[in-house]
Amino acid sequence: MTVLCFDRVHFGYGGRPAIDDLTLSVDAGEGVALLGPNGAGKTTAARLAMALEQPDRGEVTVAGASTRGRQPEDLAAAVGFLFQDPRAQLVERTVQLEVAFGPRALGWEESRVSGAVADVLGQLGLTEVAGSHPYDLPLPTQRLVGLGSVLVAGPRLLLLDEPTAGLDRMGRERVCRVVGQHRAKGTAVVAATHDVGFAIEALDRGILLSEGRVLADGSLAGLLDEAWDIEPPVAMAVSRALGFPPTVNRLADVARAVAALPVEAP
């Protein structure tokens, strides 16, 4: 089932094209990495999908309905958007209230809200800071709070803009796990990212944008193998150098293959 569709979309800022005849579609449960150089149109594509911008020409369809004439809040039940600067979306006085904000705005019953909030805080390792003011937390932790607040209501489409920027290894692993859990429940995840290490762990399709157009669209590992001026993740580079099969790309898989290498004769 298609959750997000761009049909020949054009969009520009002040007459300067940012998205140029973009056509793509994303199905439920898919994990897509939006790749490309700085200024390729990754963030703009995500903004169009959230109805933060309207196409100049063409059509963006989200969860079966066109974004034409709709506001971001009309899409809030179906789409979660994590901004590159999470402070752009943090409005509440505590982490707990922040994560509860969306479900409450959607009219959820209080008992359902508190259960969902507790789950998400636990998944993202935020339980300890539930009572903290979001602005008292380090920026990468604010990013996790933003992520929690956009996925708590179980959106059908999750748009993430550089979700792992500045996160430590444990934070990245948590984001990977949460993305996996939501994909398994049918949420489509589209992440604009330069963190190919995160991408290969959590996502499996890659769309490479350049000057607002699709340059390549296919298996993420295949795309990274094509060396489109993207440095492959370290674990994948090790896998290729040791001649492992092309499906061995994630850390755990590469580690297993490394451990299974023949032992030197004594």
């Binding site: 990754k42 752009a88 550089e162 996160l167 290894r169 993207i230 580690a255 490394v258 030197e264």
Partner: protein, 278 residues
């Protein structure tokens, strides 16, 4: 000429525990010093204190002594223009008065009262080096996060500071942007500047930094060459991770204990391949 911490502790208002505890360290000019630690270990606070921004702009209580080029970075006007600080969020760093990227990069030099010709020479060179010359006439609000990060770095270069302090400066940069940043850091250090970088990206910084300082719960735990720390086990006892290669070795070793998966861990992919291919 350097950044010197003597017994520095720092606590944010309302915080239960200090962000820095009795830190004594001297950051030398001529090398790239990289601060590493888990989220909340104190890296950002160390940078804020070194640049004189904490507690002035953050509130909180500082004890101990911090000097930059021999004076107090928070109050001494002699340092004006000498310290350039890059936050992890480029949007937060814009002047919000400039209408073009050129004006944005010219903002700090103009405020320092540089002559016009010197400003525009410095701006032109900085835009070129940061790879954003083609964006010179664009409005900063129109740019992507990665483009903004390059503009912020250009603004820093234009100042020709003696002290470079950067917090996760590569978080939104593409491959060529990261390469540009690494050249920039190396060149700044070679020119005799103090270069202090906080980064979680151990894979990238392993090949760029001369010195690595590992923080845990606000204290400096390890301080050595990056290759020494990253090839060892100690960093794993105080942090949740280091490089991907060390992570791979440890995961492989957990499956099949063997000497080739123990420390010293490989630092580069060719080293790892040579060690693990039998």
């Amino acid at each position: 000429m350097s950044v010197v911490f003597e017994g520095v502790s720092f606590r944010y208002p309302e915080a239960r525990v200090p962000a820095l505890r009795d830190v004594s360290v001297s950051i030398r000019p001529g090398e790239v010093t990289w601060v590493f630690g888990d989220l909340g270990a104190g890296a950002t606070t160390l940078l804020l204190v070194a640049s004189g921004l904490a507690p002035r702009h953050t509130s909180g209580v500082l004890s101990g002594r911090v000097t930059v080029l021999g004076v107090d970075p928070a109050t001494d006007p002699a340092l004006q223009g000498d310290i350039a600080y890059v936050t992890a969020s480029p949007e937060a760093q814009l002047s919000h008065v400039a209408e073009t990227v050129s004006q944005e990069v010219a903002f700090a030099p103009a405020n320092l009262g540089w002559p016009r010709e010197r400003i525009w020479n410095a701006v032109g060179q900085a835009l070129e080096r940061a790879g954003v010359a083609q964006l010179a006439d664009r409005h900063p609000a129109e740019l992507s996060g990665g483009q903004l990060q390059r503009v912020v770095l250009a603004a820093m270069m234009a100042l020709e500071p003696r002290i470079w302090i950067l917090d996760e400066p590569a978080s939104a940069l593409d491959v060529s942007g990261k390469a540009m940043l690494h050249v920039l850091l190396r060149e700044a250090a070679s020119s005799g500047a103090v270069v202090l970088v906080a980064s979680e990206d151990a894979d990238a910084m392993a090949g760029v930094a001369d010195r690595m300082i590992v923080l845990s719960e606000g204290s400096t735990i390890l301080d050595d060459a990056p290759s020494t720390i990253l090839s060892g086990d100690a960093v794993w006892q105080v942090c949740r991770g280091s490089t991907t290669l060390a992570d791979l070795a440890r995961r492989a070793g957990a499956i099949r204990p063997a000497s080739e998966f123990c420390a010293p861990y490989p630092i580069t992919v060719p080293e790892a391949v040579a060690r693990w291919r039998r």
